[in-house]
């Protein structure tokens, strides 16, 4: 019998309350390790304390609250930061659904003999310090070397940002002891159009795509915009424009692969000066490692051709790689049964976005994810989810927790 009781209305109210923290017009700007993210964590901690949760903050800036009996907990939750001018559901809705699953279990008077812990991860988006999945990386021992010294655009390091939040400045101390978690389950909006097209409310994630990201720099020659004939230019931006077009073609040629240039800057950056240098970000994703590698290879070939044809020098910086991650097979089965118990026939989907669940799975913690149907894309103020779908996810999650911890 399914757990009943998740409230779509309470979910909508709580999502709206979180969206007011860092609100910018219709969107949300709540970057990692900022006072805004901290306020979102504090609000979630208050809800959990009211549910009897024992709240703690770790040294990476993640927030946790535990309910139920002793032993190894099942961890549930998601992140509370956003991209600049992002939407209100990416990350935040997963945390609200996790809290709502506990509300539903309490309403159904389910006794949790084993503990459940809710987590709000810090800085999943990695916008501020260029380090995606930061909070879960710290917790699962996957931070890169010298992570604390990484700086934001103003030169503030992660160490300094943590200290400004009242922590000691050493995120590696957030490491969760290996073997101390039974499982990690993350509810999250789909951030893509597939569930909406299929007319399904929820999905269970099978695999998270592999990601490569880095910076591309094109060096040409800075010249006067009026006195340099078109034929004599080594215009770094004109060359970069060709390369950006080639990147899009390379991704479009591989099924399910995507490539994005989301940041770009030119030097010196004046209307009457031919750009001498252009730097941009490159983000390549695919559910098969060989497709990620093939797109990167095509970009390098296109860059080498540009260097010959346009007299520029193009360099692809070090690429950060996130491997393709298959989530835990037995949790996948459990979550599909739990969705069915909540009245939803949930298909299996690949995730095109990286998620904190990857870090858990890669650290040996069985990880699973429930996707919630969403519209309007994601990383955008137009991002939208139906609170009734979120309530269905909370019911499914509660069902899974009853099976695991009840």
């Amino acid at each position: 019998m399914a757990v009943i009781g998740p409230s779509a209305r309470r979910i909508a109210e709580r999502a709206a309350a979180l969206a007011r923290i860092g609100a910018v017009g219709e969107g949300v700007t709540r970057l990692g390790l900022t006072p805004e993210e901290r306020r979102a964590h504090a609000l979630v901690a208050r809800w959990l304390a009211e549910l009897g949760g024992r709240v703690r903050r770790d040294e990476a800036g993640n927030v946790f609250a535990r309910v139920g009996g002793g032993g190894s907990p099942v961890l549930i939750g998601s992140h509370l930061d956003s991209v600049p001018e992002g939407g209100r559901y990416d990350g935040a809705l997963g945390v609200v659904v996790a809290v709502e699953a506990l509300e539903a279990l309490r309403a159904a008077k389910v006794v949790l003999r084993r503990p459940v812990e809710v987590v709000g991860w810090a800085d999943e988006e990695g916008v501020r310090f260029g380090l995606g999945l930061y909070g879960s990386s710290a917790a699962f021992g996957r931070l890169p070397a010298q992570a604390a010294e990484r700086t934001d655009a103003r030169g503030v390091s992660i160490r300094e940002a943590l200290r400004a939040l009242g922590l000691r400045g050493d995120p590696a101390r957030a490491r969760i002891r290996k073997g101390s978690l039974r499982a990690y389950i993350e509810p999250h909006i789909e951030q893509g159009p597939r569930l909406a097209r299929q007319g399904r409310a929820l999905a269970v994630v099978t695999t998270i795509v592999g990601i490569a990201h880095g910076r591309v720099t094109v060096r040409g020659r800075q010249d006067h915009a009026g006195t340099t004939p078109m034929s004599e230019r080594r215009d770094a931006l004109a060359a970069a424009a060709d390369l950006i077009a080639a990147i899009a073609r390379a991704a479009a040629a591989r099924r399910d692969a995507v490539a994005t240039v989301g940041e770009i800057a030119v030097r010196p950056g004046a209307k009457n000066v031919v750009p001498g240098e252009c730097a941009f970000s490159l983000d390549v994703r695919a559910p098969r490692e060989r497709d990620v590698a093939a797109v990167l290879r095509a970009v390098r070939v296109a860059a080498a051709a540009l260097d010959r044809e346009r007299g520029v020098r193009t360099s692809l910086g070090r690429m950060d790689r996130v491997p393709v991650t298959a989530l835990d097979r037995s949790l996948r089965g459990l979550l599909r049964r739990a969705c069915a118990a909540a009245g939803v026939d949930a298909p299996e989907l690949v995730s095109g976005a990286g998620h904190d669940a990857m870090n858990a799975q890669l650290d040996g913690v069985p990880a699973g994810m429930i996707f919630i149907r969403s519209r309007g894309g994601s990383h955008s103020p137009r991002e939208a989810a139906d609170p009734r779908d979120a309530a269905r996810a909370a019911a499914a999650l509660a069902e899974a927790l009853r099976e695991l911890c009840g």
Copy 2:
């Protein structure tokens, strides 16, 4: 008989002294209406005061110094600001050459029965406030409406910048009474490769190209970089990249036309977000009005095609136009004779760059320009001129002044 005496060594020393104001690595960043530009003006004023010049500053921030007898003066000089990371000769060398012409006249004991006035114009490059030829526009009554309210990237207005320099904040007060100048002569580096190729030291300018500049905005749809298939994107930067390539093709198709995209920005500007908006600058130049118009037409056609094919909305903002300007015919003859007297066979050239001389000519003041051979392009730290060529220009200018004012 030619005036002798201009010192290549003094010219080099003075150019180096100016280059130390705002020095950045090998280059110079001395933007308009900044303390750096003010210091450059003050240094030039000191040299001129030592030559007996009566120094004054106008309400636009231009600096003047007058020598010689009464009546309507001949104005000579150039500007003292630079682009970001620009070279040391663009503008500054023209002012140094003008001062050197006075040095040469004094050394030759030429009595100036009529006055000569040296000017150092403020903010010719227009980088800071987006208003090129600002100082001479104020002096020659060609400032656009509300110019004082234009702001820089930090929101500081021209009015406020002038007040910070100790002026009253109303650049229109710098208007030179119509008919009060006999002529304006501007020495300036060529900023292009033609004189160097021809093996000539100096040229006399016939015409200054027409310029159109404005901003282009491409609006697409902000989306998640991982979950939005390539075929469903309305990527504003990918569309802009196509348009930038089309702009270069449109300019290359017209002889002597050039088009430059020197500034670009995307929103929201995160590596994991498909850009929803991309804005860039567009600068189009040609010695014939019909070619400027043809390039703009081709850009509009390309933009409309993109809108249809990629589902974006492209808008070309208001284009600032500077007309093609023919300089004074009789001054051209005088300057060619003066160059010959200084031992240089000076060809006539079109200027691909805008110059303060345009504003004088358009205001009815007969204007002429002497180009000095330069290498390494311009608007770049690689920009270079030989002080001996500059000394030849000073000798020619002194010769012209002896004819006009001696």
